[in-house]
Amino acid sequence: MTPAVVTAGAAAPDLVTTAAESTTSLIQSVDWLAIAPPVVVAAMALIVLVTDLFLPERRKPLLGALAIAGLVAALALLVPLRDGNRSTFCIDGAATGPGSAGACSYTADHFALVIQALVLGGALLTALLSLGDTRRLPAGEFWFLLLSSASGAALLPAARDLATLVVALEVASLPAFALVGIKRGDRRSSEAALKFFLSSVVATAVMLLGVSFVYATTGTLHLTEIAARLDDVPGQLDTLAKAGVALTLVGFAFKTAAAPFHFWVPDTYVGAPLPIAAYLSVVGKAVGFSGLILVTVIAFPAYADVWGPALAVLAALTMTIGNVAALRQNAGRARSAVRLLAWSSVAQAGYLLVPIASAAYSSDEHIGSTVAYALMYAVVNLGAFAVAALVARTSPGNRITDYRGLYATRPLAALAMAFFLLCLAGLPPGIIGLFAKVTVFSAAVDAGLGWLAVVMAVNVVIALYYYLQWTATLFRAPEKASEETPAAAREETPADGAVRAPTGHGAPASLTVAIALTAAAGVVLSGAPQTVLRFAAVNLF
């Protein structure tokens, strides 16, 4: 995943025309700082892969530290870009650097930076969750795959042509298949990986077909150029353009797990290692959504009357199916906790789609509501998965009934979990969850999508039922007849005196840090919702 590959893919169609006029355009000046975040992560992925070969078994934890360092460095590199005015890999001789307005393949605008911060932060938290887990997994491969996927995910929101977009999407997805199936010898893990792989590959194939149709009708891959040329497509190509738009959207709908393309989600999440499920639910979704936003709002505004209603219906379907399925989960079934989170993530994807649909009816600024909601969702969902990982250490069954009495054994973890769940439900004290929902509602109301707002209102009530039921479970008196928990607790007692983590006995430091980070972020955001909601009120592009 080097920038060279990207430019080659992106610029190739244009070279035919431009090369004849000037040979200098073959060599582009590259704004290395702008592309630094994904590049650093990609470079670190290679470093980890090579280092793995030379490390003795007992030094393997070093790889995790390297990976985290890489992600932190990439996050830090976002800071100098915060003006959001850089772009690179531009054509037509447009100058690179600040203020260039030509068609560029890579743009580090505010939208790209926010989503990059989201995916890199998400990957960082996933890495923290995995630190304790990797002993049972092949460490070198695991960290390499995670970083590769993260670099693709970080590239995607900045991509501004369809080729880069598809390449970034695949770079983000392909390692994810392997990550899902990384639990060697676990039948469920392999099955999950296969399901994920097949559905995702179908999605890619469909999307590529759509992209080729769009290219055929417009003759360009750059999103802004497509937008300009789709306005006046010749009459006989109109159907082709429409089909191209529709197929491209179907591909992204697969990636975001929107209904009716959601069926792979529960099995994949349950089969994958827990941190990877968290990664897919946050970073995977963010990738799908940023791609969807880019193609709809930047490339296809001319067909807003086609994708607007389609996305609105998709949103309504997705949230309803996700919530109803989550409602039907049996709390006593094995892995019901992850299954519930999986279905809830489908439902949340529905909420995320609402502002994109609204953007078709009124202004593009509604996209900001999706971004703000996604940021909130990323923080609290990762937090919920972190607590789930903590609980899974003592009760590997990971049933919701295992959470009974968590407040008695780990009060802080239970309070954090209650907070995360109420944020997802959107009720105080989860103030940030509430206001994130309010922005989504207001986008729908503002766009005149009253029916969608009402469907969402009903869904919020349905969702409250299962979130609150889980929350209530946390505070119930622990069951006396529980067989595994006391035994596990007794085993841990010797270590308890030595390291008493704030979340309770025997929690590994990395997990504690992950929970503390997400909980602190959630609480701070609840006090100052403006931190993320400001994206809802400005044009990010």
Binding site: A372, L422, L427, P428, P429, I431, L434, F435, V438, T439, F441, S442, V445, D446, G450, A453, V454, A457, V458, V460, V461, L464, Y465, L468, A472, F475, A477, P529, Q530, L533, R534, F535, A536, A537
Partner: protein
Amino acid sequence: MIDISESVMQFLLAFIVVIPLVGAVAALLPAPPGLKGSGPDQAVLRHGVTVTGAVLVAAIVLAAGFDHDHPSKMQATTDISWIPALDVRIHLGIDGISLPLLVLTALLTFLCALYSYFKLPAGPSPKAFVALLLVLESGTLATFAVLDLLLFFLAFEMVLIPMYFLIARWGGAQRQAAAWKFILYTLLGSVVMLLGLLLVGLKSGTFDMVALATDNGRGLTTSVQVIAVLAIGIGLAVKTPMWPLHSWLPDAHTAAPTVGSVLLAGVLLKMGTYGFVRILLPITPDGMHTFAPYLAAFAVVGIIYGSLACLALVRPGSKGDLKRLIAYSSVGHMGFVLLGIASMTPTGVNGALFANIAHGLITGLLFFLVGAVKDRYGTADLDTLSGATGAALYGRAPRLGGLLAFAAVASLGLPGLAGFWGEMLALFGSFDPADGLSRPAFLTFMSIAAFGTLLTAAYMLMVVRRVCMGEKREEPQLADVQTYEFAAWTPLVALTVLAGLWPAVLLGLTDPAVQKLLAGGKS
């Protein structure tokens, strides 16, 4: 009454809203050395009394510092930007409409905390109980103090989780189902309300209640107002509760612990009617005009329905639960409040606000008393309680019996007690409704509602007969009213008498503010 500088008043109002939250967090932490008391339970319960007491003192000082010559003016206002992206401002302030409700909330919560200090409801740790009680208090106080639509929604939602847990953890039989019914009903209502609030805010460009009230609906087209009133009204009507959206209330009251019932009836229901007065009347007057006859119709159906349900419950052999009966009587009383609001006249709205406060005092007292009866007899089932002739409370616990009879006659609206004025003014209001509303329809509503007062008197007197009177049986004497019970109930009794004998003290506060609201800030 006393002169307090504006900045102190601002601080007091912010203090009242924020301190219960801080107290709730503190309640979860271990007690600091020196405040440990005789045990962790005692320490945390005392903490609850201290915090609610401090809030009550602050509320009383606030009421004393309130400029009673200009009750229509927003006082102690704070206005800071909180979330510019959504145009949400922390805008606090009180006027003659919200001040009585604020003081009532602070008082009832303090009395509940005091009552629980001596008599903790059976259930899990008192720590969580106190914390939830304080969050509940903060949410209700904030509802009455905020002047921003989205903040109002936030405060409205804030009470849901604590009340859910109070019912589900400390409640009686059937508490899980009742708690679910409560929270799902109210949430569905309030999410629909949010849509209406957003519609108003987005179409008019501001969420500020004062600006919107001054605008008096001029910035909103009639169709927007109609949709907004429908959406917001449904949310508020569920909370109030208005027939036919009331069905969560009897279950919630029956299952809730005594303290939960007192707060639910005394304070939470008022949030709904307050919303009608504060938001719908001034901000969307045209929409209210459209819906006022329907609201009044539903209100009188509620009055009759509540009374008939109570009459059915009080009949011998019907296994009526006393708490359930009072819950149904609340549906009837809130019907009067809604009728007063629907008349859209100053008289009617003043009556509604008066009935609001009176209902809070009287029904709060009734739930305390019934809770005490239930504790002593071990049941609130009327048939078991009264046996063949009656429970003979006069004979077995004369003071308790006397208080129950007092509360019952206050509730049926005996002149001279608080219950009378509000209902009378509400009827007056519907005798002469606002211009543009159909007079014959409102006259019909008025006569039906007046018939409802007769039914109310009937079932309340039957309750007194079956619970207080009866043949004295050969059973041990019951514990009469304890000192702490006296402490918790006396203020309510005193205020009921005071409001009944001197209604001007309340009406003088609400009337100018109501005049201004209905006139759209022109007065």
